[in-house]
């Protein structure tokens, strides 16, 4: 039973893909199918989350091959919460897509690819095997690449090309590193790798290989100086696509970094700490400066993704229980808020024809409800209390001060102000400013035509408020998750439970 719980977040999107491909290509069927499938995935993921929190780490040895010979799927608290919130975004964005994704795109297999992306993301969160993680990265990569390029417009293809080439480089590095680790340690199972590395006479041998992995995952997470693919490609596809990318893709990279550094490379962490700190600080700064330089809503938001990845990596770099808890909380908060903001940019484009801040305006007057829905995630992102981003920032900052990382804390705080600046830029230009001369014609039918696009945006805004006001639930959970990460014995013994019996 518990095995099925763990498998459902994978099986449901896969089944959905197959049904959508095998069934009719009628637009209605595709839409209903995608929404139902992502909704079911959400329910299954929530059940999994509760089960893992109550009953401890769940493991499925696929094909009943005991670890480390087969592939283990593992759900600890971190995995489960990542799967749950990914599923929340998956469902929310699927509903949003009903209002945005065109008939033509749907006939080009938009929804099967969308579900494949969710499949890949959940796989990455749930796998306990290094090479299998590589496979999930490939699934995500190719599904997301096709999703970006699906429109076939020149800008989309160009962005997609940069995206796929840089990410393939990351895949190549990851694959090489997996090969090297297998060559040296003779296993691919993460728990087994951890045991063998711990027992090896000198883990220093694997420093170089671990850095290879750091680069590979860092590129996926879009840290400095590996983030170029992200701002190059996120503003071109429909907002549905950039929203789900913003919520999921980079977070998988951060998740993978946290996973390997707490589980496998823990003995190598002291040498990597300085590097991670530097990367985190520079990521925060370059990202937020990129956002300050731009004047298009989606480009600003894309650079903010980069900047905020820096905070998450900072949490990992501090490596205290509080810091890791804050990093987890930060990831969740950011997934919800950032996806929502990109969805809102989609509504702005729908209403005013563009997200270029120079050519939009007057939304404060014409769409006050949208102003409220934007204000909440935007100011949450800027760390304004009592919204979710404040707790995330407070946790990271406090952990940094406790550890005496003055410089990193100073950077985090100043970056917070610059974030606030770029959020007010969108607010002032798109909402407060009157509609400029030369703006594109307004959408016919006005606000009433938005239909389904509003529901997920409102839901996610409420989530942001709830994660702020009732954030203690999630933060306490994050602390439990961080404890699990910092004492990996439970993970290792659960995965390798069968080994002693032979």
């Amino acid at each position: 039973m518990s095995g099925l719980l763990l498998l459902l977040p994978l099986l449901l999107p896969l089944a959905g893909t197959i049904v959508l491909l095998a069934g009719s290509l009628s637009v209605g069927f595709q839409r209903v199918g995608a929404v139902v499938c992502s909704g079911l995935t959400l329910v299954a993921s929530l059940v999994l989350l509760v089960a893992v929190d109550r009953a401890g780490i769940l493991v499925v040895q696929l094909g009943s091959w005991e670890a480390p010979f087969g592939i283990s799927l593992v759900a600890d608290r971190l995995s489960a919460v990542m799967v749950a919130f990914s599923a929340l975004l998956g469902a929310a964005v699927a509903v949003f897509s009903l209002g945005e994704i065109s008939r033509r795109r749907i006939q080009r297999f938009f929804y099967p690819l969308y579900l494949l992306l969710l499949f890949g993301v959940n796989g990455a969160f749930l796998t306990g095997d290094l090479f299998n993680l590589y496979v999930w990265f490939e699934v995500m990569l190719i599904a997301s690449f096709v999703l970006t390029a699906l429109g076939g417009a020149r800008a989309e293809l160009e962005g997609g090309l940069k995206y796929v080439i840089l990410n393939l480089f990351s895949s190549a590095l990851f694959l090489s590193a997996a090969g090297i680790l297998y060559g040296v340690l003779g296993t691919l199972n993460l728990a087994d790798l951890a045991v063998r590395l711990e027992a090896s006479p000198d883990p220093g041998w694997l420093q170089a290989a671990s850095l290879l992995i750091l680069v590979a995952f860092g590129l996926k997470a879009a840290v400095f100086p590996l983030f170029f693919w992200l701002p190059a490609s996120y503003h071109t596809p429909p907002s549905t696509v950039s929203a789900i990318f913003a919520g999921l893709l980079t977070k998988v990279g951060v998740y993978a970094l946290i996973r390997v550094y707490t589980l496998v490379f823990e003995p190598l962490f002291p040498q990597a700490q300085g590097l991670l700190l530097a990367i985190a600080v520079l990521t925060m700064i370059t990202g937020v400066l990129g956002a300050a330089a731009h004047f298009e809503m989606r480009r600003i938001l894309s650079f903010h993704i980069v900047s905020q990845i820096g905070y998450m990596v900072l949490g990992l770099a501090f490596f205290t229980p509080l810091a890791l808890a804050a990093a987890i909380f930060y990831i969740i908060h950011n997934m919800v808020a950032k996806t929502n903001l990109l969805l809102i940019s989609g509504i702005v484009i729908r209403l005013q024809g563009t997200a270029d801040l120079a050519r939009v305006g007057g939304l404060y007057r014409s769409a006050p409800w949208l102003a409220v829905l934007f204000f909440l995630p935007a100011f949450s992102l800027a760390g304004i209390p009592p919204l979710s981003g404040f707790w995330a920032k407070l946790g990271v900052v406090r952990a940094g001060l406790e550890g005496g990382w003055w410089f990193a804390v100073a950077a985090a705080l100043v970056v917070g102000i610059l974030t606030l600046y770029s959020m007010t830029k969108i607010w002032a230009e798109a909402f407060w400013k009157p509609r400029p001369e030369g703006a594109l014609p307004l959408m016919a039918g006005g606000v009433g035509r938005l239909g389904w696009m509003v529901v997920p945006v409102a839901t996610l805004s409420v989530c942001t408020v709830a994660l702020g006001v009732f954030g203690e639930f999630l933060f306490a959970f994050s602390e439990r998750a961080a404890d699990q990460l910092l004492s990996p014995q439970e993970y290792i013994s659960t995965v390798l439970a069968g080994r002693g019996k032979e």
Binding site: G63, P112, L116, I165, L188, A293
Partner: protein
């Protein structure tokens, strides 16, 4: 419980305001007044306990993981501020009915105003440092929304942002200070912190904590050099200026310092910073105020001056100084809110706030003129107004100090003279003399809502002056004991006898009158002063910082995110080489390099050499087909190596893939333009070097992987298990379809996704072509 109730009432009012305003323009909207009045009465109910030396408090858990509670506590200090916030707040809400009630966005305005009120009330009642910070930030955000209320005006947007950024930056710095303070004291509960003064001031972190917290307090309360945002915030509608930027929010910084005085005060550092910055702020503000001709501008600068004076008094920190600070704070809140409201009424009813156009309005606006007169007299410190008591108290406190006191006294007397001149300018000049007849609208008295508030506040100023016993034991003494941390026996009275303070008061009055008479001389040079400030002042520094940050951002983004894939790949490669190469170097310094594998055999060596030739050829050639063939050599060589080392299935796969790639590329190549090498030799050499380094790193790692086996590989067990358990003789096949079947499933979906992509793009292309043909 009353504290929580009052907070909830105000925030509920904020939520309900838009609907209440929209639903029924009349009575339902007026019901909004119940919100601040109710909160005021609730706080008043707690006052007897506070006056008796106790406190009203409530402890609620909220975010235990981060040490944040919903603890509220009202002692003497918070009672003073809380009553001002809600009491003046009620009058401001009433005033806003008359001032903005007809504005189409009045619902939002009322909502923001009440939200601000709740935030401010929470700030003064919070008994947890982080909770206080949360409300602090909320006041900044609501202030941003209120300053930018006239949002279609670019100036409003700009100044709202300026206030937000300046106070926001101070706030996050302060947050760091709060966290450190909590670390040292071991608690975030303010009432517990206050007992830890000795521990805190002795801590090595004390200077850092104090400076960080001062950054927050000084930005919020507009101390030099952060003073510029406050006069700029006057672009807000007048009710906002009167409420936020005079009577309440800007006092938050002073309040915070007063709140933490028992914990952080009493050191030389404290006194030094507060007295110097407070004094500087006072003098700067009143001197700049002399050159103002805008009614609200004058009031903004005097507000700054008062904030400086209050800070200075907190720095002095004796019981008398703290008493005078509280008395002055109360007096200021009363008269300054009144003066702002009369200024707003003048603006509303005449269409201008420009002093040079305003004279003799007392005939048209008698009630407003009376209110302004009362407030101005109190502000100038004429007996028997409450302002007089405040000023006397300041002089008394400074006169009792000795050395430092003479400096403080001089600054205070000078500052007060100028403030008095400014008070007369703002409260008397527009209403007296002969009517100018130059106003855009013919002046007339405003409605009840516009004159009632200021008249009431002005009268209270007079009443408290005559009967200071009303606030002395109930508010001032408890507030002082909250700031000293010990029961206080201070008295507030009008008449102190003939002594130094009285003499100084008379001196101040005389000096102020003289300066007021000379006002036109200052106005004549005003444009030049303003020009100088724009070029050299603190605001110019802010503008420069702002512009250079944006310029830096643009430069950085152009440089890094250049849009060229080539540059991205190079940076990523370089980063990898630096990291991995560095690690390899540092390990080889420490550990012996992995041994080379056995003797080199001739055949594989030959194959490898051929592959190298192919790779180099592909890199240097100018011909695409040659490059393709070179790459093909590498691929086929790899297949040969697989065969040689006994992996025929891998070799077959490799052959197939390689053949397909070469063939497909051949098709494409004919459609591509000629290959050119636009880059210079140096760049090509650099890239070649980078590529070579990267290759070296990877080779080293591969060598390590082959030769360094720290543990038995699982493949041995897999081979052993393959036939007996998985019923397959070919281990590779069993791995693919059984041991690691999930990998295969994943790769199949990769192929499916790729196929869908190709199909989508190709069919899309077909459809387009068909359409073209149809045309």
């Amino acid at each position: 419980m009353t504290l929580l109730l009052s907070l909830l009432l105000v925030f509920a009012g904020a939520l309900a305001a838009p609907w209440m305003v929209r639903a029924g323009r009349g009575w339902l909207r007026n019901l909004l007044l119940v919100v601040p009045l109710g909160a005021f009465l609730l706080l008043l109910g707690g006052l007897p306990a506070v006056a008796a030396g106790g406190a009203v408090s409530l402890q609620l858990p909220w975010f235990p993981s981060l040490g944040v509670t919903l603890d509220l506590r009202m002692d003497g200090l918070s009672a003073v501020m809380g009553l001002l916030v809600t009491g003046i707040g009620a009058l401001i809400v009433l005033y806003s009915f008359g001032y903005l009630g007809k504005h189409p966005q009045y619902g939002r305005f009322a909502s923001f105003l009440l939200a601000f009120m709740g935030a401010m009330l929470g700030l003064v009642l919070a008994d947890n440092l982080i909770l206080l910070f949360i409300f602090w930030e909320l006041t900044s955000i609501t202030s941003y929304l209120l300053i930018g209320f006239l949002h279609e005006d670019p100036q409003s947007r700009k100044k709202a942002l300026q206030a937000l950024l300046v106070t926001g930056l101070g706030a996050v710095v302060m947050l760091a200070g709060f966290i450190l303070l909590g670390e040292v004291a071991g608690t975030y509960r303010i009432s517990e912190l206050l007992g830890e003064g000795a521990l805190l001031t002795a801590s090595p972190l004390y200077p850092a904590i104090l400076l960080l917290i001062l950054a927050g307090a000084f930005t919020k309360s507009g101390q030099v050099p952060f003073h510029f945002w406050l006069p700029n915030a006057m672009v807000a509608p007048t009710p906002v200026s009167a409420y936020l930027h005079s009577a309440t929010m800007v006092k938050a910084g002073v309040f915070l310092l007063a709140r933490l005085h028992p914990a952080l005060g009493g050191t030389e550092m404290w006194t030094g910073y507060l007295v110097v910055f407070g004094g500087l702020t006072l003098l700067t503000a009143v001197v700049l105020g002399l050159f103002q001709t805008d009614l609200k501008g004058i009031l903004a600068y005097t507000t700054l001056g008062v904030l400086g004076l209050l800070t200075m008094l907190l720095g002095v920190g004796t019981e008398l100084a703290l008493k005078s600070m509280i008395v002055f704070l109360i007096g200021h809140a009363l008269y300054k809110a009144a003066l702002f409201m009369t200024a707003g009424a003048v603006d509303h009813e005449t269409g201008t706030r420009e002093l040079t156009h305003l004279r003799g309005l007392r005939f048209a606006m008698p009630l407003t003129a009376t209110a302004a007169l009362l407030a101005a007299l109190s502000k100038s410190g004429f007996p028997p107004f409450f302002g007089f008591i405040g000023k006397e108290a300041v002089y008394e406190a400074a006169g009792n100090l000795g050395g430092l006191g003479w400096g403080v006294l001089a600054v205070a007397v000078g500052g007060n003279m100028l403030m008095m001149a400014l008070a007369l300018k703002a409260g008397i000049a527009p209403f007296w003399g002969r009517p100018s007849g130059q106003t855009p609208k013919p002046p007339h008295e405003g409605p009840f809502s516009l004159w009632f508030g200021p008249l009431l506040l002005g009268s209270i100023g007079l009443l408290l002056g005559l009967v200071p016993g009303l606030v002395g034991p109930t508010l001032v003494a408890p507030a002082v004991s909250a700031m000293t941390g010990a029961p206080s026996e201070v008295y507030v009275k009008l008449w102190h006898g003939f002594n130094l303070p009285l003499l100084l008061s008379l001196l101040t009055l005389a000096g102020g009158l003289v300066l007021f008479r000379l006002r036109h001389h200052f106005w004549r040079v005003a444009p030049r002063v303003r020009y100088f400030l724009r070029a050299r002042g603190a605001e110019a520094t802010y503008d420069l910082l702002f512009a250079s940050t944006v310029a830096l951002a643009e430069w950085q983004t152009r440089t890094l995110q250049s849009g060229r894939l080539y540059s991205y790949v190079r940076i990523v490669l370089l980063f990898t080489v630096v990291l991995v190469g560095g690690a390899i170097l540092s390990t080889s310094l420490r550990l012996a390099p992995p041994p080379l594998p056995g003797p080199i055999e001739a055949l594989p060596a030959g194959i490898v050499l051929t592959m190298i030739v192919g790779a180099v050829l592909a890199a240097v050639t100018d011909n695409r087909i040659t490059a393709l063939l070179g790459l093909g050599t590498v691929g086929f060589g790899m297949a040969l190596l697989f065969t040689y080392y006994g992996a025929p299935d891998l070799a077959i796969t490799q052959l197939l893939v390689e053949t397909l790639t070469v063939v497909l590329f051949m098709f494409v190549i004919y459609r591509l333009p000629h290959l050119r090498h636009p880059s210079r030799v140096l760049i090509r050499l650099r890239d070649a070097g980078l590529a070579a380094l990267f290759g070296l790193c990877m080779s080293y790692l591969a060598l390590e992987a082959i030769t360094l086996n720290l543990d038995t590989p699982i493949s041995e067990r897999l081979a052993a298990m393959s036939y007996p358990l998985a019923k397959g003789k070919n281990v590779v096949n069993v791995i693919l379809v059984d041991f690691r079947a999930l990998d295969t499933l994943g790769e199949i979906t990769v192929l499916v996704a790729a196929a869908l992509g190709v199909a989508a793009l190709v069919t899309g292309g077909l459809r387009r072509r068909r359409r073209k043909r149809a045309e």
